[in-house]
Symmetry: C2
Subunit: 331 residues, 2 copies
């Protein structure tokens, strides 16, 4: 294993300190905790908290800032954060209007975030949660009951975050987050597996001419392996499964996220995006906004995912609203 | 070779179309050319044009937009753009106040950009150029006479771009660009080599426990190979050589860029940044701004570079000025 790290045990700790060292204008770390919150502290609005295992950077700490998250909780690599850490995040960001937890659908995450919600409720803090399960690849997985939450989660952060920033009540922010969740679908693939530092070797081995389709963001298996082909052909397969959901129709406006898995050069993501846009437009939809880059990664995995979000005027307004975070800035 | 591409011959073409497909609000492509310019066309200010071989995405097309570049010219992978393409870029962005070319110091780039400058001068367009040579690793290289231009170039785009946006004259923008160049130094390393698509195999082979120190951004050799060690130790070596330049002293304010080579996870860059900041501050300097991420890449190379820029009030003002481009946005 060749990684740019010091000790395996201290990666998450050093990563979080590296984030606050880089972006003190955006984030600060709660002392003794793996929690990043806005540098300026709690604000009198509905607060958003997300998080999960580490290894998905810039998710989720990179999205803490104006117009997106108020707090992000980092577990160990690919490991759910503990309930007490989530609870501390909730307490720190609560500005009196309640807190919305944005949870990716993994069994451990759901359990621990819900426990934190109960702990906070016992303290009189109003907390609600939404669960993102945008990955159409598999219906259940080694890590989940139901579908997995992957890159579409970033669009929940963006849109629900803008809604919260606008001064909306908790019920309204939750409604908007759930609307995103109902309209967002993703699917990914891998050219090469990731190496979990503590394991020291790739999560799986692909042959020199093989790719894995329907991969998750933890190196967990996809739907199948196949011979590598043109990226256009690969993107077609991902999009076909997304369109099979039946929620994207001719005339719809969509947002597109072409997400890198961490080790994929931007050049390749851009090549993929050319075709993704052509296919989406070829089906009679309009691409209102595109985001290309590393947003929900899987350590050093090489591969990408495609996310489509059907927009209405409300979602579009919040998607286009300003955001100012380490990893996503928009005027 | 497993890459997310279609045909090797069409990568640059599809990458550029993928960029305009993603960011039509920022960039448009000059018809039949590998040139991206601002979507809104030429503006009545000094225009900045940069570029070079492709494979360094988001450089340079990703920095076309308000507060940074006006045009970016893309050669084939790791190949200088031809003079006629640079010339067309200059013509397209010229708003009447002249054009500054920002050239990375590679023999081919310097020759072709200077030829374009002459062609434009023949047409009555005032063009000046600056040459970035920030890489302290080697004094001459297989690709250059003198030092190579690497990630520090992005800071030239940012600061000279903000100066141009402020309405400054060409001589002033050039002076500011040269001040950045005089005060910026970088050095990089690689954990794994990149694979040039047309070659189909890695540019060099490193053993499973080896890294290359002082690497360039084209897979060209560094200063030496050594056994991989803690990233803190590696960062120390890069910083030591940068500090040996003698231009950064106690009490100075600096900007830090921890740049990924394309295949390096953000988690690892953040771990590196924690130490970089500690070392810089340990020497009595103040880190006024940090940027961490993939800005000047080398295809799928895994590794990183560290850049320091000594700031004065003028450079700081322009560094902090707003920017709105596909790959760098700042309020």
């Amino acid at each position: 294993m060749k990684k740019l790290i010091n000790k395996v045990d201290s990666i998450v700790d050093e990563m979080l300190d590296g984030m606050t060292a880089a972006y003190p204008q955006y984030v600060k770390r709660l002392e003794g905790l793996n929690v990043l919150v806005r540098a300026k502290g709690a604000t009198p609005k509905v607060a958003l908290v997300s998080g999960g295992g580490s290894g998905h950077e810039p998710s989720h700490g990179g999205f803490v800032g104006r117009g997106m998250l108020d707090g992000a909780v980092a577990g160990e690599v690919f490991t759910s954060p503990t309930p007490d850490q989530v609870y501390e995040a909730v307490k720190a960001v609560n500005g009196g209007k309640g807190v919305l937890l944005v949870i990716k659908n993994y069994t451990g995450d759901v359990m621990n975030f819900e426990m934190a919600e109960e702990m906070a409720a016992d303290e009189g803090i109003t907390v609600e949660h939404v669960i993102v399960a945008d990955d159409v690849a598999v219906e259940n997985s080694t890590w989940t009951t139901g579908r997995r939450g992957i890159a579409g989660t970033v669009l929940v952060h963006k849109i629900a975050g803008a809604c919260a920033e606008s001064g909306a009540e908790l019920s309204e922010v939750k409604r908007v987050a759930e609307k995103v969740i109902a309209n967002v679908r993703s699917m990914g693939m891998a050219v090469n597996a990731c190496t979990v530092p503590a394991a020291g070797k790739p999560s799986f081995e692909l042959a020199g001419d093989e790719v894995e389709i329907g991969i998750g963001i933890h190196g967990e298996p996809g739907t199948h392996r196949e011979k590598i082909s043109d990226v256009n052909n690969i993107a077609d397969k991902l999009l076909e499964k997304i369109f099979a959901e039946g929620i994207y129709a001719k005339g719809d406006e969509v947002a597109v996220l072409v997400n890198g898995m961490g080790g994929t050069p931007l050049m390749e993501l851009l090549v993929a995006n050319k075709h993704v846009k052509a296919v989406v437009e070829g089906r009679g939809l309009k691409v209102a906004k595109t985001i290309v880059g590393n947003y929900m990664t899987s350590l050093d995995m090489e591969g990408f995912s495609v996310t489509l979000l059907k927009l209405d005027d409300e979602l579009k307004k919040y998607l286009d609203a300003p955001a100012d975070t380490p990893a996503f800035v928009q005027f």
